[in-house]
Structure formats: C-alpha cells, structure tokens
Amino acid sequence: MRASRKPASLRRFFARPVVSQLAIVILAVLAWEVAARYSTDELFTSPPSAVFAAAADLFDEAGVMHAVLTTLWELGLSFLLAVGFGLAIGVGVGASGTSYRSLYPIILLAYAIPQVTVLPLFVLYFGPGPASKVAFGFSHGIFPIIVNVVAGLRTVPAGLLRSAYSMGANKQQIFRRITFPHLVPSFFTGMRLGMTATLLGVLLSELYVSSGGIGYYTELYTESFEPQNLFALTGMLALMAVFLNEVVRRAEIRHSRWR
C-alpha cells in the first residue's frame, strides 16, 4: 500500500512547476560552472563558485556596501517622491471631468517623451551625486502612478454613482464608499509599475555617471577586468530588483482582492 503510494506522491512532487524551475536554475548554474572552468578565458568568465566567493568578499568591503546602501536610499527617496506627487497630481487631474479633459492630454504628451534622451541634462542640472539619481528615478516613476490613479478615479462605474446619488449620499460618503475603494487597486498597480520604472531610472543614471554609488563599482570592475566581482554585484542588484518587485506585487494582489 505504502510502496505504491510513494511513487505517485514523488511524481506529483516532480510535477510541481516550482521544482522544475529550481532544477532548471541549478542545471544552468552547473553548466555555467563547467563551461567557465574548462573552456573559456578566465579574464572574462568566472565560474559561479568564484562569484559566490567574490560576493562574500564584496559584503566585507566597506566601499561596496556603502555604494549599495546609497543606491537603495536613492531608490527609496525617489520612489516616495514619485508616489506622493503622483498621487496628488493624479487625484487633481482625475477629480473632475474638466480637469481630466484639459490636463490629461498634457500628462500623456510628457509621458511619451523618452526620458533616456535627457539623462545628461539631469546630470548637468543636479550634478553627478545622488541628487541627479533621485530626480531621474522620480521622473521615471511618477508617470505610471499618475496614469493609474487617474484611471482608477475615472473608471468608477457610473451606475454606482447614480444609485448613490439617488439614495441621497453626500459627496463625502460617495468618496469613502465608492470612489476610494475603486482608487486603491489601481493605485497599487501604479505603485508596482512605478517601482519598476524608478529602479530602471536610478540604475540607468547610476551606470551613466556615479561618484559613490553602484555605478562607480560596476565601471571599476569592468575596466579592471574583475568579472567575478562584476557578476556578484550584478547578481546582487538583480536579486534586489526581483525582491522589490515581489513585495509590491504582493501588496497589489492583497489590495485588489475585493474586485
């Protein structure tokens, strides 16, 4: 009885997507290790074991940790600013039909301009320090938040509003009971997209020019041909991005469940 059940549960275990995903990742790392050890130039590729060793060393190096922290607070500050201003502007634009019709086209026009083109201007105006990263990350993050807040306010079903009016609800009640619950899920969607965009903006400006952030070290390791350090730093940034994305995605799912 037991013996016949075990293979079935084992098979079910291996049929789970997470298991296969882990297996694929582990296989890729192993293949990389083998390829890096036996066939390629040491100056360019380092086996994962060397990368992990380098990652441990990087954590000990005060300068690198400081740079990571600098980048993190640049990201945090520009995201907070983007959320605050994005919410305020979004509510202002979406509050009434008139403001929506007159201001929203201007927001869309500004959103359509690719910000990478003006990256050097940010450095020209704000200097090579953290200020230009915060400003550039902010300029990336604010637009998705505005657009989603406006969408949340403008897509409240008209039938709900009409029935609330007919039952004699006042403005405050309508906001609390109808508009606000509709705003929350799209606000969280905006925050998720805004987080991705802010991260892109901060990293882009860090890599372009940096005096003490992560960009300084990526350039140092590229120019001094230390691939294991570059891999370790890149991997750390990638993990950070996945983690932050997961946090905002969870928050989004939690707050849009009522729909």
């Binding site: 694929i24 086209p105 026009l109 050097p120 990293l203 570059l230």
Partner: protein
C-alpha cells in the same frame, strides 16, 4: 472624435506655451545659456546637422542596431514563446521564470554585456535584444494560451490536420496579443539602445547626446535630443498604426 480633437488642441497649446516660456527665459538672459540654450540656436544646429550630413552616420548606426536587435528579439521570442506554449507543463514552468526576469531592469547586465562584446554596436544589439525578448516571448505564450479551447475541439472533431489547426485557428487567435508584444518589445529595444549608447559607446545618437553634454555644447545636444524624441514618436506612431491595421483585419 471631438474629444480627441480637443485634446490635440490642448497638447498643441501646451507645446506652444512651453516654447514661448523657453524663448522668453533664454532671450532675457534669465538662465545661463550653457544650461538652457536659445531655441534659435538649437534650430540652427538642427539645420546644420541635417545639411552637412553629420547626423546620418549616427542615425544609420542606431537604426542598424535597432533593426538587428529587434529582429533577434522577435525571432527568438516568437520561437521560444511558441515552444513553451505547446504544453501546459512548460507554460507553468517557464512563464513565471520569464516574468521574474522581465521584472529585473536588464540595464544592470549592461556592464557585463560591454565586458563581453566591447564598446561597439555588438553590445548594443545584444543588450537591446535582451530587452525586447521578454515582452515578445511572454505575449507569445499568453497569446497561444488564450486560444479558445472550444475552437480547437471543434477543429479536432471535424478532422483538421495539425497544419490546418495551426494556420486556421491557433495562429490567427494568438496574433493580436503577439502584436502587442512586438510593439512593446520594439519600443523597449529602441529606448534601451539609446540608453546603452549613452552609458558606454563609440557612436550613435545616444552617444552624441552625451558627447555634446560633456563638451557643454548644449545647442548641439538639444538638437540631438529633438531628433531622438521625434524619431521615437515617429517609430511609435508607425508601430501603433500597424497594430491597429492588423487588429482590424483579423
């Protein structure tokens, strides 16, 4: 229809107001011309770039990189996305993996790309291709996954061959979603190529913007910014029009 005319008018008015403020602020010497050049200087530089041909070399390089990167992203994204979508198991395994990768700003890998492929066009093509691959692959997967099962059952019941099944049902049903993926991938590829040219490169439009910014020749820099913005809007309008047309046919 009327609403869109009104919003076009508002946009035109806004652009005119910005230009007017720009002229007033720079004409009266309120701001340093190194930070914000006079629009007339920018227009002069723009004319000079187009007339003396110095624009074309960089434009050609950027468009060449874009064409190769997008072709690579579209071909590999479509093939891999289709291969993944053929079974439920591989869809459930690979789609989250791709989505997780898509959440990483791929710009973090750019220093590694430069390390392997150098400062020339190769690193931009690889980088742009990586940026474009994920939306195309993800939309191909969801396009084929969203085909109405009843249509497939119907086709099977009427004895359709695998080829007919693909040509008549699977492909036409998946195409609209795939086209959205191509549009997203195309725009991301273009922007990432401009971005990577600004970070480390030898030529191209993004390179020129940074070059003149560092030389503090802001009129030329603004002229190149205008060119890239116009190019981006033009490319955007072309793909959007193509998307609408395909949607209309299918």
């Amino acid at each position: 229809m009327r609403d869109s005319t009104v919003s076009r008018l508002i946009q035109a008015g806004f652009v005119a107001a910005v230009l007017l403020i720009w002229v007033l602020v720079t004409g009266t010497g309120l701001v340093n011309p190194i930070f914000v050049p006079h629009p007339v200087d920018v227009v002069k530089q723009l004319g000079r770039l187009i007339v003396d041909g110095s624009l074309w070399d960089d434009l050609k390089i950027t468009l060449f990189e874009l064409a190769l990167a997008f072709t690579a992203a579209a071909v590999s994204g479509t093939l891999i996305g289709f291969a993944v979508s053929t079974s439920r198991w591989s869809t459930r395994v690979f789609e989250p993996l791709f989505a997780a990768f898509f959440a990483i700003p791929i710009i973090v890998f750019y220093p590694l790309t430069v390390l392997y492929f150098g400062l020339g066009p190769e690193s931009k093509i690889v980088h742009g291709g990586m940026f474009g691959f994920f939306p195309i692959a993800l939309n191909t997967i969801s396009g084929f996954a969203s085909v109405d099962r009843r249509l497939l059952q119907l086709a099977d019941a009427m004895g359709a061959s695998p080829k007919q099944r693909f040509v008549r049902i699977l492909f036409p049903a998946a195409l609209p979603i795939m086209i959205t993926g191509y549009r997203m991938g195309f725009i991301l590829t273009f922007l990432s190529i401009i971005g990577s040219e600004s970070i480390a490169s030898l030529a191209g439009l993004g390179h020129r913007i940074v070059w003149y910014a560092e030389a503090l020749e802001t009129p030329k820099m603004f002229a190149y910014i205008v060119i890239v913005v116009v190019l981006a809007m033009l490319l955007n309008a072309i793909v959007a029009a193509l998307e609408v047309r395909r949607r209309g046919n299918s």
